[in-house]
C-alpha cells in the first residue's frame, strides 16, 4: 500500500489527536517547568540539622560575641550573641560577612614557599614539616651566630595567650622585637602611663555619660568596639544625650550628632586647651577632684590661661570664640561629660599631647575613674605562666635595644612604635632585621607610606606570614604558614577595646578547618620545640589547645559553654584608691619628662605653594580598614559617591572645586609628596573648603576581584610625622594638589 500525501497528513492529524489524549504533552510541560527551576548551576543549600555555636568575632578588636548558625557541618549565618556584654545580639557589617572569609576564594590552602622574586606571586606548596623545619633552621643559625635580636615579630594585638606566646617565644629565643600594629590605643596607654602611672587600657563608660565631646572619633564609623558604639549612640538619641562632633568633615558620626563643629584639621588640641581655658577661668572645674586628687594643676593652669584664650584659639581652629565658650560651659555643666579622641575608626595614633589634653579635660570635670567617665582598665590577670629561664644567648639578645626605639631613652614610656620600623630598616646599608614574622596584621597595606614599607620588607632577608589570606604582606613574604580563620580556631579574646568591665571571650572552632592550615599557636610551639634547649623548655605544652585550656583554668568551662566570661562582681575603681604615680595623684605635668597637655601643631608634609590643598582620610563602617579586607558583601554596600567601578571619589567642597574649575565626576590626578593616584571628583558641602578627603580601606592590591584594584589605598599617599614626645605617628593628613589626568 502506497502512502500518499493525504494518507500521511491524516496520519499526522491522527497522531496529533492521539498525543493530545496521551499524558505526554502535559507531563513534558510539567517536567520542563520543574527543570527550569533546577539549573545545575543554581546553588542549593544542603538541608539538615540546624545547630548554633557561640564564639567570638576576632575580625577587629571589638570582641563581639557571635552565634553561628550551622546546617549539619556548614556554617550558614553569623549573628550577634544575645546577652553578650559587648554587643547583646548586635552585629556589624564585617562580622555578618564573616562567612565569606571562611568559604571565600582568597584563602591560602596550604603552606607556601616563594619561588620567583618577592611579590611576583610565584609559590610552591610545601608540607608543614618542611615549613617548620626551614624556619627552625634559619632561626637556629641566627641564634648560633649571636644574632637572635635581629628577629622581629609583628602582631595585630598584644593581649591574650596568642600574642603572649609570640612574646614568650621571642624572649626565650633572645629578641626584644615584638611589635604591635599602631592604633589610638598607643596614645591612650601612654597617656594613662604619664598621667596616672598605670599600665592600663582606656575604658569609657559611654552607657552612663550624658554629654559626649568627640574630637574626630568616628563613634559610628568604627571607633572602639563598633557594635557597642552603635548601641550607645542609639541610646544617646533616645535619652537626649548631647553628642558634639568636632572634625573638618561631616562624617556619618557628625551627621548623627547633636552638633557638628567643623575645625581646621590638626588643631583639635588647641580647641581642648581653649575649652580648658574657659572652664578654668570661669571656675567651672571640679574643685574637689582637682584639690584632692591631682598634682601640677597650677602649672598647667598658668599655661592654659596664658596661651589659650578663646580669641587666640578661635584664630587657630577656625571656630569662633563664642562657640568655644558655650561649648566649654555646657561640657563643664553636664553631670557626666566625657571627651574622647582618636580620629575616624581609631586605627592610627594621635600625638601624645593631644591625647593628654583630652584626658586632662576629663580630669578637669573630675570624671576619671567614675560612673560615666574614663577608666583605667587593667588587663584581667589570667595568664600566669612560669618564668622563662633564659640561656646566655637569650639574655644577650634581650640586652639589645628595640629596633623601633620604643623604651629607649628618647621614647622611654612608649611600648611599641611599629610606625618607626620601616625607617629603621631602610636607614642602614644592611637590614637590622634578619627575619620577620607577621601574624594578625597586614603592615604592607595598613602602615602609612606603602612604598617605604614595601622597600623595608623587601630588604629583610626572611619574611614569614601567618596570614589566612593572600594579603599584601603575604604577597611579599618568603614563607606563608596559613593560620586557621577565626571560625576554625580556639583563641581567647580579652577585654574588648574601650569596655570597662573585665570580659574574656573565647573564639572556638565552629567548623572543621577547611584547608591544610594550622593554628599559629601550634606552629610557635613546634618552632620552639624544634629549636630545643631553653627555648623548648619555655613551652611545656603539647599544643596551643592544652596551653589555652590550662591558662584559662577555672574559667574554661564557662567560656566553652557561654562563649564569654565576665566579672559580675564588678566594682568601679574608686577615687579612694590612689593613682599609681609617685605622688599618688593624677598628674597634669609628668614629673619624669615635664610634659604637660598643650597644643604643638603637627606640621604635615608638603610645600603649601606646590600642594595648595590638604588631604585627610575618613573611615566608614562599610570599609574594613584593618588587616582584614572588605568581604564581597561589605564592598557591595559602599555608596556610588565613594566608589564607582574601579574609581574612588575624592570629596571636595564645591567652592574649592569651582575656583579651580573642577566639575563633579571629573577624573583627576591627585598628588601628594608621597604618591599619585587617579581619582574622581565628588562635590560635598560637608567638607571644609581647601580640604579634600579620601576613604580608607580601598585600593587593595591583594585579595579577590571583589576588592583588589578598586580605588586607592590612602596609605600610598601619606607618610608619617613623628610625634616628638612619644615617637608615635601623629600625621593627620598631607598636603595635596589636583591636576588634570
Amino acid at each position: 500500500m502506497k502512502i500518499g500525501r493525504r494518507g500521511f497528513l491524516s496520519f499526522v492529524i491522527g497522531g496529533a489527536a492521539g498525543t493530545a489524549l496521551s499524558p505526554l504533552p502535559w507531563k513534558l510541560t510539567d517536567d520542563s517547568s520543574i527543570w527550569t527551576q533546577m539549573w545545575p548551576w543554581t546553588p542549593v543549600p544542603k538541608d539538615g540539622e540546624a545547630s548554633c555555636v557561640n564564639s567570638v568575632c576576632t575580625l577587629c578588636s571589638g570582641g563581639c560575641g557571635i552565634t553561628v548558625r550551622k546546617i549539619e557541618d556548614r556554617a550558614v549565618k553569623i549573628e550577634g550573641m544575645k546577652g553578650h556584654p559587648v554587643n547583646n545580639g548586635g552585629a556589624c557589617l564585617l562580622g555578618l560577612s564573616g562567612l565569606q572569609l571562611l568559604y571565600g576564594p582568597t584563602r591560602i590552602k596550604s603552606p607556601l614557599k616563594r619561588t620567583g622574586k618577592r611579590g611576583q606571586g610565584g609559590w610552591e606548596k610545601i608540607s608543614w614539616k618542611e615549613a617548620v623545619s626551614e624556619i627552625v633552621e634559619k632561626l637556629g643559625n641566627l641564634r648560633s651566630k649571636g644574632q637572635s635580636h635581629t628577629v622581629g615579630f609583628v602582631s595585630g594585638s598584644d593581649r591574650g595567650t596568642l600574642p603572649r606566646l609570640f612574646e614568650r617565644f621571642l624572649t626565650a629565643y633572645g629578641s626584644p622585637n615584638l611589635m604591635r600594629m599602631p592604633s589610638v590605643r598607643d596614645s591612650y596607654e601612654l597617656t594613662l602611663r604619664m598621667m596616672q602611672g598605670v599600665q592600663a587600657l582606656p575604658g569609657f563608660d559611654f552607657e552612663n555619660a550624658d554629654f559626649i565631646l568627640s574630637f574626630g572619633s568616628g563613634i559610628i564609623d568604627g571607633w572602639g568596639s563598633p557594635v557597642r558604639m552603635f548601641r550607645a549612640n542609639s541610646a544617646w538619641q533616645n535619652d537626649n544625650v548631647k553628642v558634639i562632633q568636632i572634625e573638618p568633615r561631616l562624617s556619618n558620626t557628625a551627621a548623627k550628632s547633636s552638633k557638628w563643629i567643623p575645625i581646621n584639621p590638626g588643631t583639635e588640641t588647641a580647641l581642648v586647651m581653649g575649652l580648658a581655658h574657659v572652664i578654668i577661668k570661669e571656675y567651672l572645674y571640679d574643685t574637689g577632684f582637682i584639690l584632692n586628687y591631682t598634682k601640677g594643676f597650677e602649672d598647667w593652669k598658668r599655661l592654659v590661661l596664658d596661651n589659650y584664650s578663646p580669641d587666640s584659639v578661635a584664630a587657630m581652629t577656625g571656630i569662633d570664640s563664642g562657640t568655644i565658650a558655650i561649648l566649654a560651659r555646657s561640657f563643664a555643666k553636664a553631670s557626666r561629660p566625657l571627651a574622647i579622641c582618636g580620629r575616624g575608626d581609631g586605627s592610627s595614633s594621635v600625638g601624645l599631647k593631644e591625647c593628654m589634653a583630652v584626658h586632662a579635660l576629663n580630669a578637669l570635670v573630675g570624671n576619671v575613674n567614675k560612673k560615666g567617665g574614663v577608666w583605667a582598665v587593667s588587663d584581667t590577670d589570667y595568664i600566669r605562666w612560669p618564668e622563662i629561664e633564659m640561656d646566655a644567648k637569650a639574655a644577650a639578645g634581650m640586652q639589645h635595644e628595640r629596633l623601633d626605639g620604643a623604651g629607649s631613652k628618647k621614647y622611654l614610656f612608649s611600648r611599641y612604635l611599629m610606625n618607626r620600623l620601616p625607617e629603621a630598616v631602610n636607614s642602614g646599608e644592611q637590614s637590622p632585621l634578619q627575619a620577620l614574622f607577621v601574624s594578625g596584621a597586614n603592615p604592607l597595606y595598613t602602615l602609612p607610606d606603602t612604598k617605604l614599607t614595601e622597600k623595608a620588607f623587601d630588604k629583610i632577608p626572611f619574611v614569614v606570614s601567618f596570614s589566612s589570606y593572600m594579603d599584601e604582606t603575604a604577597q611579599h613574604a618568603d614563607l606563608i604558614l596559613p593560620n586557621h580563620v577565626f571560625l576554625e580556631r580556639y583563641e581567647d579574646v580579652p577585654a574588648p577595646v574601650g569596655l570597662i568591665q573585665p570580659v574574656i571571650g573565647l573564639a572556638k572552632p565552629v567548623v572543621e578547618p577547611q584547608f591544610n592550615t594550622r593554628h599559629v599557636g601550634d606552629v610557635i610551639i613546634q618552632m620552639a620545640k624544634g629549636l630545643g634547649g631553653s627555648v623548648a623548655d619555655a613551652f611545656p605544652w603539647d599544643n596551643y589547645y592544652s596551653c589555652l585550656k590550662e591558662t584559662l583554668n577555672d574559667k574554661w568551662e564557662t567560656l566553652v559553654e557561654k562563649g564569654f566570661w565576665s566579672d559580675t562582681e564588678l566594682m568601679s575603681p574608686t577615687l579612694e584608691s590612689p593613682f599609681d604615680t609617685v605622688s599618688g595623684k593624677f598628674e597634669f605635668v609628668n614629673p619624669d619628662t615635664g610634659s604637660m597637655p598643650q597644643f604643638k601643631p603637627v606640621s604635615i608634609e608638603g610645600d603649601e605653594r606646590l600642594y595648595p590643598l590638604v588631604l585627610i582620610p575618613y573611615d566608614t563602617i562599610r570599609l574594613a580598614n584593618s588587616y582584614i579586607g572588605d568581604p564581597p558583601f561589605a564592598i557591595k554596600t559602599v555608596e556610588d559617591t565613594v566608589l564607582k567601578g574601579k574609581h574612588v571619589f575624592v570629596e571636595i567642597n564645591p567652592k574649592t572645586a569651582r575656583s579651580a574649575g573642577i566639575h563633579e565626576g571629573q577624573r583627576i590626578l591627585l598628588s601628594t609628596p608621597k604618591g599619585k593616584a587617579e581619582v574622581k571628583i565628588h562635590f560635598f558641602e560637608g567638607i571644609m573648603p581647601g580640604i579634600i578627603a579620601l576613604p580608607r580601606g580601598l585600593g587593595h592590591t591583594a585579595y579577590d576581584d571583589y576588592l583588589a584594584g578598586k580605588g586607592v589605598n590612602f596609605n600610598t599617599l601619606i607618610g608619617t610625622v613623628e610625634d616628638p614626645d612619644s615617637g608615635m605617628d601623629a600625621a593627620w593628613g598631607i598636603r595635596a594638589k589636583l591636576s588634570n589626568v
Binding site: R6, S10, F11, I13, A17, L21, S32
Partner: protein, 267 residues
C-alpha cells in the same frame, strides 16, 4: 465561481471531509488506488494509536531511568524491632524540623558489627559504617527545592499518619527500584506510577493537586485554622478581582505574599 463549486463538490466526494486543496489528477489517482475514504481514516486511526502507544507506554519508559538503592533495606523487620514506629528512625529534631532518612548515627548502635549474613548488611557495615560514610539513599519523596513542606505541621499539628502520604512503605521487605525522571532528576513517586496521573490511594502521588485534594476535603477544619488550599485561594482572588467585595474570603493583600498564600509552600 462555477469552477470553485465543482471543485468543492469533487473533493467532498473524494475525501469525505479531508484536506481541501488537491488538484484533480492526484485525486483521480487516489480514487483509482485506494477506493473512497477508507484508507484515509485508517491512517488517522493508525496515527491516533501510534501516538497513544507512544504517550502511554513508550514515553514513560524513556522518561524514567531505573536506579538501585546503594543497599537494600527491610522496613518491616526494623519496624518490628523498634518501639516507636516510624518516628524511631524518621524523627523530629528538637527544633521541630524533620530528620528525613536516618544517618549512620542512628544505625550505628546496632550495626557497629555485622548482624547476620545478609550481603546488604555486610556491604552496609564494611562500606559505610566502618568507613564512616553516609549512605547516599535515593529519596523517593524528595520534592523540588522550591517547595517548602513542614512535616511537623502535618504529623503533630494535623495528627496525620505517615501512611497517608508515604503509603505502606513501613511494611515493605525490600526497597523498590528508584525511577528517576531524566528531565527533572526527581523520583517517579512524585508524579505517581500512573503516567496519566490517576490515583487510587492518597499516597499514589505527591503533586500540588494532591496536597490541594486533602486541603479541600478538610476545608471545614481548615477554615478554622485559616489555612486554605492554593486553588481555593486563587479562585477567591479571581472572584475578588472580577467582582470586588463579593468573595466570602474578603479582601486579600496579594495572592502570593499574604499569610497562607503561595509562598507558604513555594519558596
Amino acid at each position: 465561481m462555477s469552477t470553485l463549486d465543482d471543485h468543492t463538490k469533487e473533493i467532498s466526494e473524494d475525501t469525505s471531509g479531508g484536506a481541501a486543496s488537491a488538484k484533480s489528477p492526484d485525486a483521480k489517482m487516489e480514487k483509482q488506488d485506494n477506493g473512497p475514504g477508507g484508507p484515509i481514516i485508517l491512517f488517522f486511526i493508525l496515527g491516533v494509536f501510534a501516538s497513544l502507544i507512544m504517550g502511554w507506554i513508550i514515553f514513560p519508559k524513556l522518561l524514567y531511568s531505573q536506579k538501585k538503592q546503594p543497599i537494600d533495606f527491610n522496613h518491616a523487620f526494623h519496624v518490628a524491632e523498634v518501639e516507636n514506629g516510624c518516628e524511631s528512625c524518621h524523627f523530629f529534631r528538637k527544633d521541630g524540623t524533620f530528620s528525613g532518612a536516618p544517618k549512620l548515627e542512628q544505625c550505628i548502635d546496632c550495626h557497629e558489627e555485622i548482624q547476620g549474613v545478609d550481603p546488604d548488611e555486610i556491604k552496609f557495615v564494611e562500606e559505610y559504617v566502618s568507613k564512616e560514610r553516609e549512605v547516599p539513599w535515593l529519596i523517593y519523596s524528595k520534592q523540588p527545592d522550591c517547595v517548602f513542606f513542614s512535616h511537623v505541621a502535618h504529623i503533630k499539628g494535623a495528627d496525620m499518619d505517615c501512611v497517608t502520604c508515604h503509603g505502606h512503605i513501613g511494611e515493605s521487605e525490600s526497597l523498590k527500584i528508584y525511577e528517576e525522571n531524566r528531565i527533572t532528576g526527581y523520583s517517579r513517586d512524585i508524579w505517581g506510577k500512573s503516567i496519566g496521573g490517576f490515583k487510587k490511594n492518597t499516597w499514589d502521588r505527591m503533586k500540588m493537586d494532591d496536597c490541594a485534594d486533602c486541603h479541600q476535603k478538610y476545608s471545614a477544619n481548615i477554615e478554622k485554622t485559616g489555612v486554605k488550599t492554593p486553588t481555593k485561594r486563587l479562585v477567591d482572588h479571581m472572584i475578588e478581582v472580577v467582582s470586588p467585595g463579593s468573595s466570602i474570603s474578603g479582601k486579600g493583600d496579594s495572592v502570593q505574599t499574604e499569610r497562607d498564600a503561595c509562598f507558604v509552600c513555594h519558596k
